[in-house]
Amino acid sequence: MKKITLPLSILFLTLLLVAVSMPACSAGAPEDTGKSITPSAASDAGRILAKRDRVKVATTTSLYDTGLWGFLEPMFEKKYNVELDVLYAGTGKAIEYGTRGDVDVLTIHDKAREEKLVADGIGVKRVPFASNHFIITGPPSDPAGIKGMSPEAAFKTLMEKGKTSPQQVQFISRGDNSGTHSKEKAIWKAAGYEYEDVTKSGPWYVEAGSGMGPTLVMAKEKSAYTVADIGTFLAYKGKLGLASLVDRGAILLNVYSVIPINPDKVPGTNLKMAENMVDFLTSPEIQTLIGKYGADEYGEQLFTPSAGAEPVE
C-alpha cells in the first residue's frame, strides 16, 4: 500500500500530459497563422482554454470543401482578434444550428429559406456576398446524353433514361436538405415533376445524405449524375474524373449569403461579431480575394464576388 498504485499513476501521467500539451497542441496547427498576441504559445493556450472571444459560423459544405473558409478564417481572426470556429454543414443543418442559437452567423445558399429566416426574425438580414453556378455533372461518357441541354430538359432525360435502364443511368441526390438539395428540387419542379414522385421513381435515384464532397465521390464511384456547385466541383475535379455536362441556365444560379443571427430572438448569440463577419465578407479587400480564390489552382474562378447586391445570371 506504500506503492503508488498503477491507475493513479496513469491518471496522473495523463493529467500531466494534458497540462503539458495544452499549449503544444495547437502550436503546430497551420491555421494558427494570424495571431495578434505574442508570444504565440500563450495565445495558443488561450485558444484552447477559450478565454478569447469565440465566434461560430455555420457554413454550407461547398464553401468549406472548396477551402475558401480555411483561407479566410485566419484573416478574420487576425482582424477582429477572435477565435473563429467554422462548422461545415448543409444549409438545412446550418439553419437549424442558427435557430437553436448554437452559432452566431451563417453563410449559406438557399434564397427562399434565407428569406424566411429573416422574415421570422431569427436572421437579422440577408447579405449576398458571392455567387457562382451549379452544374449537372456525370461520367464523361454521358450515357444519358444530356450534354449541352437545358437543366430542365436534362432532368427530364435523366428521369426517362434512369427509369428504363437504371444500370446505365443513375442520379445521386444530396438528400440532406442542403442548399444544393433545394436547388435540385427546384430544377425538378421547373422540369414539371413533383419531388415526392421523383424520390419514388425507382432505384436509379439515390439519396446520399452527405455533403457535396462525399456526394461527388459517390457519383464518381457509381458513374452517376449529380448536381454540384461549380466551386466544389472544381476543387474536386482532379480526384473525380467527372465531366461538367450542363452549366447554362438561369435556374443554376448559386448565391451565397451571410446572415447574422438575431440575439433578441435567439439569446446568447454574438451579434457584434456576426456584423463584423458581414462587413468582413463584403469588404472590397476580401471581395477581391474571393474573386481570385482558386483561380490559380483550378484554372478558373470559383466565386464571383457580389458585394451585397443580389447577383443575376
Binding site: M1, L6, P7, S26, G28, R47, K56, D85, R100
Partner: protein, 228 residues
C-alpha cells in the same frame, strides 16, 4: 492496390516528418479522449463501486442494464448531449456545444457504462476472503471499499484503458457535438471522416495508422496488466 501502397507511403512520410497538422490532431485526440476517460473514471469508478458495495432491490437488473449499455450507439449519445448543451437545451447557458468540452462530455458519457460495468465486474473478481480479512482486521465500510479497489488496481487500469480505447476511436458523438472545427475540435476520427470524404486518402491513412498504433499500445498495456 497501387493507390493504397502509395497512400501508405505518403501517410508514413507525414507521420515520420512530424507533419504539424497530423501531430496536433493526434495530441488533441489524446487530450480530449484522455480527459473524457479521466472524468468518466473519476465519476463512474466510484459509482460502480457504490453499486457493487450496496444492496438494493433491482441491483441485478441495473447491472444488466449497464452491461447492455456498453454498446450504446455513439450517435445516440451525441444526439442526447447535443440536445442537452445546445443553446436552446437545458444546459445551453454553458455555451459548451462545438467545444472540446462538449466532446469530453459526450465521450465521458459514452464510456460511462463501460467504466461502471467493468468496475463492478472487476470488484466482483475479488476473493470474498479479502473483504472478510479487512473486516476482521477492523476496517470500516469505506476502508474495506478502498482496500478492495486497491486489490483490483490493475484490473481498474484495464477498465480505464478500455474506456480510453472506446473514447478515442468513436466518431459519431464527437463530430455531432464537437462540430469537427479545424484546430479546435478536430480529432483523429473526425478528421479521418472529413478527409476521406474529401478524397484526401493519404492524410486519412496517416491518421488511421496513428489511431491503430494508439489502440495497439493500449492493448499491449492491457495485456501486460492482466498478466500481473
Amino acid at each position: 492496390m497501387e493507390e493504397i501502397g502509395a497512400a501508405f507511403v505518403t501517410a508514413l512520410k507525414l507521420i515520420i516528418t512530424g507533419d504539424p497538422e497530423v501531430l496536433s490532431i493526434t495530441l488533441r485526440s489524446i487530450i480530449i479522449s484522455g480527459s473524457a476517460t479521466i472524468l468518466s473514471a473519476l465519476i463512474f469508478i466510484p459509482a460502480g463501486s457504490a453499486v457493487f458495495f450496496s444492496e438494493f432491490p433491482g441491483k441485478k437488473g441495473l447491472v444488466n442494464l449497464i452491461n447492455t449499455l456498453f454498446s450504446v450507439p455513439t450517435v445516440f449519445v451525441g444526439l442526447v448531449v447535443f440536445i442537452a448543451i445546445s443553446r436552446s437545451g437545458p444546459l445551453g447557458g454553458l455555451g459548451l456545444l462545438f467545444t472540446p468540452g462538449a466532446m469530453v462530455t459526450a465521450q465521458a458519457l459514452l464510456i460511462s457504462p463501460v467504466i461502471t460495468g467493468l468496475s463492478i465486474s472487476a470488484l466482483s473478481g475479488v476473493r470474498p476472503e479479502i473483504k472478510d480479512t479487512a473486516l476482521s482486521l477492523g476496517a470500516s465500510r469505506v476502508q474495506i471499499a478502498i482496500t478492495m479497489l486497491r486489490e483490483v488496481r490493475y484490473a481498474m487500469a484495464v477498465v480505464v484503458l478500455a474506456g480510453f480505447g472506446r473514447a478515442i476511436s468513436e466518431v459519431g458523438a464527437g463530430i455531432m457535438v464537437g462540430g469537427n472545427i479545424r484546430g479546435y475540435t478536430r480529432t483523429l476520427t473526425t478528421a479521418m471522416s472529413l478527409e476521406t470524404s474529401m478524397g484526401n486518402i493519404e492524410f486519412s491513412m496517416a491518421l488511421g495508422i496513428i489511431l491503430i498504433t494508439i489502440a495497439l499500445f493500449v492493448s499491449i498495456i492491457v495485456y501486460r496488466l492482466q498478466r500481473l
